[in-house]
């Protein structure tokens, strides 16, 4: 018994590359859910210990340095994901800029 199951060679969506992309997307959806589940559990536990108030968390408006930090992170994420198909090359200068994020 091999104890190894092969991935299918056939395509379910008409083209192998399309299957690959949807497979990646579905894996990401799973990871996204695991993270959301964890954040919800985290909020619940912190609230139980009276360290946070979930309502206050929802009502909270970031300001000042925190607002700037979130903006930087958000813009970097958008540029990285939305810009991926348009990235013609990479160099030291553009990569070094990413060191400021996260």
């Amino acid at each position: 018994m091999s104890r190894t199951v092969d991935r299918p060679e056939r395509s379910y969506l008409g083209q192998q590359e399309l299957d690959d992309v949807v497979r990646m997307n579905t894996e990401l959806m799973a990871e996204l859910w695991i993270l959301r589940d964890r954040v919800t559990v985290l909020e619940h536990l912190l609230e139980q210990k009276q360290l946070i108030d979930r309502k206050a968390l929802s009502e909270f408006v970031p300001e000042g340095e925190l607002a700037k930090e979130l903006e930087r992170e958000r813009n970097a994420l958008v540029a990285k994901v939305a810009g991926a198909p348009h990235q013609k090359h990479y160099d030291h200068a553009s990569l070094a800029k990413q060191a400021d994020v996260g």
Binding site: R3, Y12, L13, A30, I34, V41
Partner: protein, 363 residues
């Protein structure tokens, strides 16, 4: 029982949700798309012709599949079905490995004191049709993983399978009440000894214990791992079930020694010729007046062309090598040929599942 860590639990729950979505919204859309195809009425009429030879079924199924696959919703439905079937193990194995120590401690603490009700036979010849199959895409098959029991009981079972929506099992059905409903199809309640052919673990016999509290319960299966798991559960829950490793076509029961035989979701995992041999063997061990109830996925002739295409899909896409052959066979006729009388076949719920075939040995 153990519980999984957050990552493992949430990952499997995601698969459950994806499977539900795939088998409800996408499935409904795919059915609507299929119904709108010009070939659909003629295919439905053809299906009424009932039993035909396997090569005719194959030709019919391929024509129906070509029509069904025009639906984008269907193609995505099948993609997600395959994805979930693989990911059940891809996600559950690491999740249960994180609990290996806890599980092994639990097994040690609850180790059955009485081994007399577990009879394994390491010399038992394993049939060629059974050997090497990685059923349902499980790496190593039934006997390939020592944590298979917690993997199903704490992981795939409650988070994915319990929601339905895979193979013949309809979405949102209650697989636990289905088992009870199937066992309620026995006409009598006064059985003294009940045998389950291809019992796997203790799932069906545990339900039988509720319905037949006084009966002696015996289960036979080829898989030592599943039998050990069944024995563990049975002893822990004081169910008093005897488990034997044996081939269902040649069991260690004397002629006329049992009052009832159940087989649950077994025939689609064996070639039809083996099913017929097993039914003959069950007839042999039944006492006069004894009953046999079979529950399995429905035959192609009992479902719509689209449902038949979906059942047929499992053969090549979910490691069910005999699913299609079984769906082309006729268990009711096999029972009649073996000598059973009052043979009936019918569906208990929608889309033909569970499909029950039952009969009685003449008194």
């Amino acid at each position: 029982m153990i519980t999984l860590k957050q990552r493992g639990r949430a990952g499997l729950q995601f698969l459950g949700s994806l499977q539900q979505f795939s088998s409800s919204e996408l499935r409904d859309q795919a059915e609507a798309d299929y119904a709108a195809q010009p070939e659909a009425p003629a295919l439905a009429a053809e299906w009424q012709a009932g039993d035909v030879r396997p090569h005719v079924w194959r030709e019919r199924l391929e024509r129906a599949r070509d029509v069904v696959e025009r639906s984008k919703a269907y193609r995505y439905n099948r993609f997600y079905q395959r994805f979930v079937a693989e990911q059940n193990f891809v996600r559950a194995i690491p999740a249960v490995e994180q609990r290996r120590k806890e599980w092994e401690a639990l097994v040690e603490a609850k180790k059955p004191k009485d081994e007399s009700r577990l009879k394994l036979d390491p010399q038992l010849p394993i049939p060629r049709w059974y050997e090497g199959v990685e059923w349902h895409l499980e790496p190593g098959g039934w006997d390939g993983y020592d944590l298979a029991m917690p993997m199903f009981m704490a992981g795939i079972g409650p988070h994915v399978f319990a929601l339905g929506g895979y193979a013949a099992v309809d979405v949102n059905c209650d697989i636990r009440s289905q088992r009870k409903n199937v066992l309620s199809q026995f006409r009598r309640r006064d059985f003294r000894r009940i045998y389950e052919a291809g019992c796997g673990g203790a799932t069906t016999l545990a339900v039988a214990r509720q319905l037949f509290p006084q009966a002696e319960l015996v289960g036979g299966d080829l898989s030592p791992a599943l039998l050990k798991n069944g024995h563990f559960v049975s002893e822990m829950m004081n169910l008093g079930i005897t488990f034997r490793q044996e081939d269902a076509t040649q069991v260690a029961e004397a002629d006329g020694s049992v009052d009832a035989v159940i087989s649950y979701a077994v025939h689609h995992e064996m070639p039809p010729a083996v099913s017929a041999a097993m039914i003959r063997e069950m007839f042999r061990i039944l006492a006069p007046g004894g009953e046999m109830v079979i529950s399995d996925p429905p035959p192609f002739r009992a479902v719509s062309p689209m449902q038949a295409v979906i059942l047929d899909w499992d053969t090549d896409n979910r490691a069910e090598p005999f699913f299609s052959a079984a769906a082309m066979a006729n268990l009711a006729q096999m029972m009649r040929d073996a000598g059973f009388v009052d043979v009936e076949e019918y569906a208990l719920e929608k889309r033909g599942y569970p499909w029950v075939t039952r009969g009685r040995k003449p008194a």
